[in-house]
Symmetry: C2
Subunit: 222 residues, 2 copies
DNA sequence: CATGCGCCGTAACGTACGGTACGGTACGTG
DNA sequence: CACGTACCGTACCGTACGTTACGGCGCATG
């Protein structure tokens, strides 16, 4: 809904409005991390040292601002896709653990928690598709990035499963468990670097126990 | 915060105010299931055919009403704890599947989704402990109800694990996977009776593959 | 029958916030 | 230098909603 205005700003290459735009969206992320109740248009304008008029000119309305913020944050997170080289058991394990670590770091970050909370609030109100955008850039994005690794491992005879999507969902469940819902509901849970590494290791090991093709013929369907 | 008023109402046994209270809270649940944006104090009063004055007298404020609603809903859900008889592999499998089915039904119900959404919204605002109450009656309640079964199965030599809590969290992850977060974010996902039964069966099988003591010595730590 | 209490329905109040309008300023362009 | 453009800061408007106040009714009690 704010795309027109954005494009118009982008097509004016002489100015650094693109960078300014990022500053504004960073201000939104800051405010969000400090508690979603503080996220008013006036607060954003104050924090970003811009006028409300500019906010509405650039983003259309509040939902447009939030949508742009979600996409802005997603554009920062995109990291490491699987690049296929030779794949052995160790590389597979390392790849899975790396994905698990990345995902756990994301869902336990203040920013992600705050963003998911507002998106959930919007999903409750039916209006706008913020929830869909968050899903597309979170859960589904990581799924699409992990699947190539899973399928390459299956081709290499390291994993056994029928349905890639189902296999990914199993891995997802083993990694995230109850962490995300507890964090969203305000449970104080630490998630230090060490906890994340340990969780990633455990989840990977469990996933390999279920779907690893190594000497274990007990991997039934997905 | 509204408990004083509630107790006062309860101590007046001559009236059916207790039943009336339930009607009011059911009205809140109805409204909630129709979309969280419709949940205003006026709407509740209209739906429940009571005055706003009564709402505030009984529940103190909006948060008190929401808190009472969460507890009211929780009091309806409490179902089937494990009752120990002789436990063999079949009974264990049946018990785990039953828990999985119950939990999947809960998290995919419109009521639970709506309640979790408002609780998450409150957790974002820092105020009140709605999130804690939802967690206590949801995630933690089912954990405490499942643990006796897990430990009885371990005592019977059917399961192997070190940490009961960790074992439960693994089961939780295998059952819920990405379902709850997707539903909260507004993803249209069906979850028919058949899907739920199939998910429960799969999760149970995977859990037994990881922690079953039957002829599988590959169950490392929790 | 008179009294009082609890509750319904509704009007009213205060505030918070999304959205708009406007004056003032800096800057790039003719 | 005159002009237009983009933007900041702020005042303003309308509305939604939580909360309170009030008039009227039904009912239970003495």
């Amino acid at each position: 809904m704010s795309s027109t205005v954005q494009d118009e700003a982008e097509t004016r290459p002489g100015r650094d409005s693109s960078a300014r735009r990022g500053e504004v969206l960073d201000a939104v992320l800051d405010l969000l991390a400090e508690g979603a109740d503080g996220l008013t248009m006036s607060a954003v304008a104050r924090r970003a040292s811009c006028s409300k008029e500019t906010l509405y000119k650039w983003f259309g309305d509040r939902d447009g601002l939030l949508t742009a913020t979600v996409q802005w944050q997603a554009s920062k997170v995109r990291a490491g896709a699987y690049e296929n080289g030779r794949l052995d058991g160790l590389a597979l394990r390392a790849g899975l653990e790396a994905y698990a670590v990345t995902w756990l770091k994301v869902i336990s970050s203040r920013t992600s928690i705050a963003l998911n909370r507002v998106a959930i609030g919007h999903a409750a109100s039916g209006r706008s598709n913020l929830g869909r955008i968050v899903l597309a850039n979170g859960r589904f994005a990581i799924g699409e990035r992990l699947k190539p690794l899973l399928e390459a491992a299956r081709d290499a005879g390291l994993l056994a499963f029928d349905d890639t999507e189902a296999a990914f969902r199993t891995f997802f469940g083993l990694v995230a468990r109850d962490v995300q819902i507890r964090l969203l509901l305000g449970d104080k849970i630490r998630m230090s670097e060490g906890d994340i590494a340990e969780d990633a290791r455990r989840a990977t090991e469990q996933f390999l126990a279920l779907h690893g093709a190594r000497k274990s013929p007990a991997n039934r369907r997905a």
